[in-house]
Amino acid sequence: MSALSSNGVLMLLAVAIPLFGAIAIVLLRRWPNAREAATLITGVALFVDVLMIACAMQGGATLNLVLARPIVGLPLELTVEPLGMLFALVASGLWIVTSVYSIGYMRAHREKSQTRFYAFFAVAIAATMGIAFAGNLLTLFVFYEALTLSTFPLVTHYGTSAAKRAGRIYLGILVGTSIGLFLIAIIGTYAVAGTLEFRSGGILDGKVTGGIAGLLLVLYVFGIGKAAVMPFHRWLPAAMVAPTPVSALLHAVAVVKAGVFSILKIVTYIFGFDLVRGLDATVALQIVAAFTVIAASLIAITQDNLKARLAYSTVSQLSYIVLAALIADRAGFLGGGMHIATHAFGKITLFFCAGAILVTAHKSRVSELDGLGRTMPWTMTAFLIGSLSIIGMPPLAGLWSKYYLIEGAWFGGSAWLVAIFAISTLLNIFYLLPIPFRAFFRSARADDSLVRREAPLACLLAIGITTLGCLMLFLFPDSILELLGGAITGGALP
Amino acid sequence: MIELYEFVIGHAIQWGAAALLAIGLYITMTRRNLIKKVVGLNIFQTAVFLLYIQMGYVTGGTAPIKEAGRTLYSNPLPHVLILTAIVVSVSVTSVALTLIVRIREAYGSIEEDDIVDLDASDADASA
């Protein structure tokens, strides 16, 4: 800890700012306006800090900070690499938007225990930053667990028996897989490789037999429960009992992306593409992930609860990224990385809209949305745009990630995956587009009032920003691609 | 035959100790009367005393007192050790008996079965 460089301070702040924010939120609990101001200021400060880290990284500075040394030879270490940078930018940027949205949502909904909500939200963001900037696998694991525990009070926010049951599923699956499989894989990796550093080209290559490497890969993919690969996906729909801002940021962006981000990172920096491509287990896992893509989409079609439908859609989309990681080449990596960003913007928009519909029209089922396009035109338009982005329609961001995913699958020699992506795109259309169609083209039921009543302004503002994000990412994907490209140019890749 | 004889008779004291050990343990584990359990424990510990005492015995040796004409002494150390062990054993017995007295005061019985029944009915009453 001695001799902190200014860059080290930046890294420390990325985790510390939200934690200080959480403390400030608790201290200001008696003055809701000041408390919300603290949330927003913290969010902006964090985003600025992350931007400064990004600039420093582009300037070629080495950013590294050792937090503690809990195990000999294995420090808790923060560092920057392109994929983590992207994840941190997305998560911290969207946190500001979500905070704006939460203020509108929580007040309109007259939620109880708002202080606890904002405080744990900030802690969860701190854990997310820790995951994004984790310098080795142990650090990643530590923050991964911290994220699970800090989101638990958010999932069980209402304290009802349904919330409690959901909390049990949430914790049971996430902690169960992470301790039962992920931790074993980490310790196993440490036992064979002698290190847990993230290194370009991997640390396992040449040190293990195919069997052990395959076993480790299986343990990682299933052990990272946050990636929601079937059969460990149940926690995500369960987590939908949480207030909508939680579902929006954490269960469409931070938590779930932390899972796939970890898988992407482990494939890239722990195994290395060459090793992964050569494993039999990879094909088996691809099949499981492909099955998840299709099956979750099919389940989504059957869900009438809007948030549940979106949750299953997320499960399906997450497995895109798992597939991208398992393709294990440049295009797959770019596609996976892009999808982290594009899906984040698309899905958060959809959740924001779902929350807005809930607080304004008090509707949570797809079948109740008839005619809502007339009473909440802005919200439903945003919903349509978000849906189209996730489906992958131009001119929206989702196109790019799908483009790279398909390119990776095609040139990676697994043409059958192209078919999977195609089918799942069709299914996307089936489960997403009926929602805005109902809202716009069906007439409202007789008992619904036709008075035009939009969501709270703060909510609309947030929805507007993320919708715009979907467009902007389509127009300017270069900076993200460049950022991600930097991660793998060092390796011996085509 | 000779070996067997040696094995059985030559280690007679050890056999005796082993038998006492087994008897003591058996009593402690199977009896439901608390006093009998403690008696078993005593027998069990006595077996160990025997084991130690025979250890120090040297054929033809006498007590280790320096005296003219005596050259062969038995080893005094195990005997001293066992004095300590006997003290421990007495303390254990006294603590055990004290506990039993208090159990008798609290439960009105020194039969383990009664005590278990009483505890079970307490649990039922409170539940």
Binding site: L149, G188 | Q45, V88, L99, I103, D119
Partner: protein
């Protein structure tokens, strides 16, 4: 400093002499403050000894100036120094709260005897750890045990009496088995000094008395250690003992069994005889794993939380046994670190029970309803220590688990590694039951309940804090465990 040289003798002698003095002090407050002073003094001495060991290596002290093998020596190596710090530290930290903890539970006039007996337990435990003489170890073991039986019997409920008697019977069997083992070793080596025994055992590989000796000591220590299936005494003893006694025992009592086991296996018999020749891994690993799984499973179904913690102790003892049984460096480090770490977390958890019993009159699930709001600080400590018990990263439990799993994988025992983490998932279930009840349910009555008094809250908070601090920075625990392993080292 002449006094510093005599530390090894003083650390045992001070509580020994203090115990009868304590019994003679008449007013209630005197023995209380006196016992606190003695406990903290031993803690200070333990820290000084630790410092000496770390700076100069093993400290050997010949009692009364009689050189070994005639006299009794006290030997302090890193392992015993760590045990000293654990035992005396727990005594020191728990002692101030005892008056509250026992106030409602022990007959008023027995208080001074309570403190006297507690000091005797402390004497015995410290003696076990210090001595380098096998028979002396037995004597100290009996001092500690006899006093422990008396302490358990001081519980408020009459059920503490049969619990104490059962503890006495099984404890005596265990200690006597150790005595038999020591006698058998003496028979073939002609010495009681552990170092001399070790030297002579190496030349006596096939000796049958030695084999029997190892078997007796293994079983005897396993009973003291509450290693499954020799754990029967533990649940009742911990449940019905006065709560502060449970806290002290939960943190230390079984650990001494572990210490005796490690000391005999590695220092006296040697790794090669114990593992290579006798194959005790075949006992320790299955018993450890079975204890870890079954103990946690049974803990899930308990309604009385003190009993739940008692079963959890059996599970944790299983980890320690497994670590010893793995017979590699990381496994042994895990065992030693876990002895210390588990002491911290179980101490904290039992102290929470003490606070709850003090304020609510019991520690059943029903009393925990809504406790998160009624006693927020106490429950916060419970959550921290509970997370540590589960083995969440950045807590001490994670460190132990890390080394244990690493040791298992290095030994090529992947299934064992998986069973270890599986049992820690069971810990998630039984801890979470409590956390849910405390935070999501509302209390059944609306009596105003105060937060625990400072004498209880401060020690609880201190232990909970240590659970985190020593999980982030492991220089102290792992470093000492590594050194201990070096000293115990026989071909690891």
């Amino acid at each position: 400093m002449r006094l510093l040289e005599h530390l090894p003798a003083l650390i045992v002698a001070v509580p020994l002499v203090a115990a009868p003095i304590c019994a003679l002090l008449l007013r209630t407050r005197f023995p209380y403050w006196f016992a606190i002073a003695v406990a903290w003094a031993t803690f200070a001495m333990a820290l000084l000894l630790m410092e000496q060991v770390l700076s100069q290596g093993v400290v050997v002290y010949a009692l009364g100036g009689w050189a070994p093998p005639w006299g009794i020596v006290y030997v302090v190596d890193p392992l015993s120094a760590m045990m000293l710090v654990l035992v005396s530290g727990m005594a020191a930290i728990i002692m101030p709260g005892t008056l509250l903890g026992i106030g409602s539970e022990v007959v008023r006039r027995a208080k001074r005897f309570f403190f006297a007996v507690t000091l005797l337990v402390l004497t015995g435990m410290l003696g076990i750890v210090m001595t380098g003489d096998a028979f002396n170890l037995y004597v100290f073991l009996e001092i500690a045990s006899l006093a422990s039986y008396a302490l358990v019997a001081m519980g408020s409920d009459r059920r503490s009496l049969p619990a104490a008697l059962n503890y006495l019977i099984q404890g005596t069997i265990g200690a006597t088995f150790i005595l038999i083992g020591v006698g058998l070793i003496y028979m073939v080596t002609g010495t009681l000094n552990m170092a001399d025994m070790a030297g002579r055992i190496q030349t006596l590989e096939g000796s049958r008395p030695l084999q029997a000796a190892l078997a007796f000591i293994l079983v005897g220590a396993a009973i003291k250690f509450a290693l499954f299936p020799a754990h029967i005494w533990l649940p009742n003893a911990y449940t019905h003992a006065p709560s502060m006694v449970s806290a002290f025992f939960g943190a230390t009592a079984t650990k001494l069994g572990a210490y005796i086991l490690i000391r005999f296996i590695y220092t006296v018999f040697g790794d090669e005889f114990a593992f290579g020749h006798m194959g005790i891994a075949w006992v320790l690993i299955p018993a450890g794993v079975a204890g870890a799984i079954l103990g946690s499973l049974v803990a899930i179904w308990q309604n009385d939380l003190k009993r739940m913690l008692a079963y959890s102790s059996i599970a944790q003892v299983g980890y320690i046994a497994l670590g010893i049984g793995l017979d590699n460096r990381d496994g042994l480090i895990a065992a030693i670190v876990h002895i210390f770490n588990h002491g911290l977390m179980k101490g904290a958890l039992f102290l929470v029970m003490a606070s709850v019993i003090l304020r609510l009159g019991g520690a059943n699930m029903t009393q925990f309803r809504g406790l998160g709001r009624r006693m927020p600080l106490t429950m916060a400590c419970f959550v921290v220590a509970g997370l540590s018990l589960i083995g969440v990263p950045l807590t001490v439990g994670f460190i132990s688990k890390w080394y244990l799993v690493l040791g298992a994988i290095e030994a090529g025992l992947w299934p064992i590694a998986i069973l270890v983490v599986a049992s820690s998932l069971l810990a998630v279930i039984y801890m979470w039951r409590v956390i849910e009840v405390a935070y999501f349910e509302t209390a059944t009555d609306n009596r105003p309940i105060k937060e625990a008094p400072l004498q209880l809250l401060l020690p609880t908070a201190a232990l909970a804090l240590l659970c985190v601090l020593l999980g982030i920075s492991t220089e102290f625990t792992v470093e000492i465990a590594s050194r201990a392993v070096v000293f115990l080292d026989v071909g690891l």
